[in-house]
């Protein structure tokens, strides 16, 4: 039985007995080809997303298997992009899975010459400390004529325009409450 199956799977046997005597097609099909599937078909989930590059707003479908992004391609449903992507959009999977992505906090101490590692919680607390200190040091309560200023000019921020509306909203809200005025964005540039 084993031998027989082995022989039957031998392309030469299929050549001699099947429809493909020249061995250029059906007979030559390999085990991998016989079971080949598109990985979009076998993905665990698909997220409907939007391209992060320019402002055209092309629809993307993000395919995920085992918690990893396995494919990102254009969403044919999008009336804007009709499933198409430019080279940058088409490279989105490489963008999010790039081995060059930084995934840990890095810290350069004053006058340091190398990066150091830092725990995320520690970093958050250190940043909060510095924000509060800078704010206190540079706080302006009122102008020369006694009109309110309620602000600090000791803190700046420059945001990229790939941030979400919700993120921008919280950034502006927090900084405004903090009195930090110098909040800027790529939109200025």
């Amino acid at each position: 039985m084993g031998v027989r199956r082995w022989v039957e799977r031998w392309p030469l046997y299929r050549q001699l007995t099947g429809t493909d005597p020249l061995g250029r097609g059906a007979a030559a099909k390999s085990a991998r080809s016989l079971t080949l599937t598109a990985r979009t078909d076998t993905a665990d989930s698909v997220a409907r997303s939007v391209c992060p590059y320019c402002a055209v707003g092309c629809g993307q479908r993000v395919y995920v298997a085992d918690g990893q992004v396995t494919q990102i391609e254009g969403d044919p449903d999008s009336p804007i992009s009709r499933g198409r992507l430019c080279p940058k959009g088409a490279a989105s999977k490489s963008l999010v899975t790039s081995p060059l992505r930084q995934t840990t906090v890095r810290y350069r101490r004053p006058y340091g010459t190398e990066w150091e590692d830092l725990d995320l919680d520690t970093a958050m607390n250190m940043i909060a400390d510095r924000v509060l200190a800078a704010r206190d040091e540079t706080w302006e309560d009122r102008d020369d004529e006694g009109r309110p200023l309620n602000r600090t000019l000791g803190i700046s921020s420059l945001g990229g325009a790939t941030l979400d509306n919700e993120e921008n909203y919280l950034i502006k809200k927090l900084f405004t409450a903090m009195g930090a005025l110098q909040i800027e964005n790529q939109a200025r540039i």
Partner: protein, 352 residues
């Protein structure tokens, strides 16, 4: 800072070459702008994409040129072995059979070594495709190799003890060897000539256009080389047929080679450049070897010289032909110009 030429630091190895050429002549000439000078590049009579080859040059390494030689040698030697066997020349037979085995072993090694994935050599046996000279060749080799092996091993019979199981083998070996030797010889011409098809059945212009002649060149070269080995190694008393065979081989190769040079533009690599020099050297050596063979008669020295020349000729021819193919694939001229001519011809003969 003045306009002194700044240091050049090539960003990548690939730039080194054009850095040399680019930053100097044109730039300076244009910079001075003293007029009149022609800013030209060598003219070409055909269009192309940045002058780049249309075809991919064969990725085969010189393994394959070696394979062509070794396979041919094996085939010719098997024939000689069989001839010697049938005409009662045991010394020559032994040399023929051993050379056949050596040749086929070497060629198999070279063939496998040249694979990108040598461990998958056996995939060659998945299919048998008449459209693939390599597949056909593989099956020929699969037949020839064991036969040549058996024939050669049979020559070891005298070394076996007279009695016992091995004694039986000692008695059976010669007839088995004889059958195997004849069978190997029967497949040998195919082994020697299919390689002509192997090269010709490609898009490589100088190879493909040479399809009528390459099998002959290779057949002749195989005979010459095998004769050469025989002239060197076989007892002088048994080499008479080899002189005739060398002559015959040379004749066949000369005729084939002559055709190679008559196939239009794609002959150029066979006559010019390094490949052309190799081919020419092959022919010169062939002439020398054949002549030496004819006059050598009883001279051991002359026979050896002849043999070496014939073997060297075969090596040179194979490498020359191999290289000519590479050259013709790398220059878009050999792809575009003949195709353009063909189109023009078709157009002029097409009914209006």
């Amino acid at each position: 800072m003045t306009d002194a030429t700044p240091p050049h630091e090539p960003v990548g190895a690939r730039f080194r070459e054009f850095q040399d050429g680019v930053d100097q002549p044109d730039g300076k000439r244009r910079g001075r702008g003293d007029g009149g000078e022609q800013l030209t590049v060598p003219p070409a009579d055909f269009a192309s994409y940045y002058g780049r080859p249309i075809l991919k040059a064969p990725v085969w390494k010189y393994d394959i040129a070696g394979y062509l030689f070794a396979g041919g040698l094996a085939a010719g030697s098997a024939l000689i072995g069989a001839g010697a066997q049938l005409t009662g020349r045991p010394g020559l037979r032994k040399v023929g059979r051993w050379t056949a085995l050596g040749g086929v072993a070497a060629s198999t090694y070279l063939l496998v070594h040249d694979l990108g994935r040598p461990a998958r050599f056996h995939h060659m046996l998945r299919v048998a495709k008449v459209t693939s000279p390599m597949s056909v060749g593989t099956w020929i080799l699969a037949a020839f190799g064991p036969l040549a092996g058996v024939a050669a091993v049979a020559e070891l019979a005298p070394l076996l003890p007279q009695h016992g199981v091995l004694g039986l083998a000692r008695r059976i070996a010669p007839p088995v060897g004889n059958i195997a030797g004849l069978a190997a010889a029967a497949t040998a011409p195919a082994l020697a000539t299919y390689t002509g098809v192997l090269l010709a059945d490609t898009a490589v212009p100088s190879w493909h256009d040479a399809y009528p002649s390459l099998p002959f060149v290779f057949a002749g070269s195989a005979l010459a080389a095998a004769s050469g080995v025989g002239l060197i190694a076989a007892p002088a008393t048994e080499t008479a047929p080899l002189r005739r065979l060398a002559l015959a081989g040379a004749a066949v190769e000369f005729v084939g080679g002559h055709q190679l040079e008559r196939q239009g533009l794609t002959s150029e690599p066979y006559t010019h450049g390094r490949s052309g020099r190799l081919v020419k050297a092959g022919r010169a050596l062939l002439a020398v070897g054949t002549a030496a063979a004819l006059v050598s008669r009883r001279s051991r020295v002359l026979s050896t010289i002849s043999g070496v020349a014939l073997v060297a000729s075969s090596v040179a021819t194979r490498f020359g032909v191999f290289e000519a193919g590479r050259v013709s694939a790398l220059d878009p001229k050999y792809t575009v110009v003949p195709q353009r001519e063909r189109l023009a011809e078709n157009r002029s003969t097409a009914p209006l």
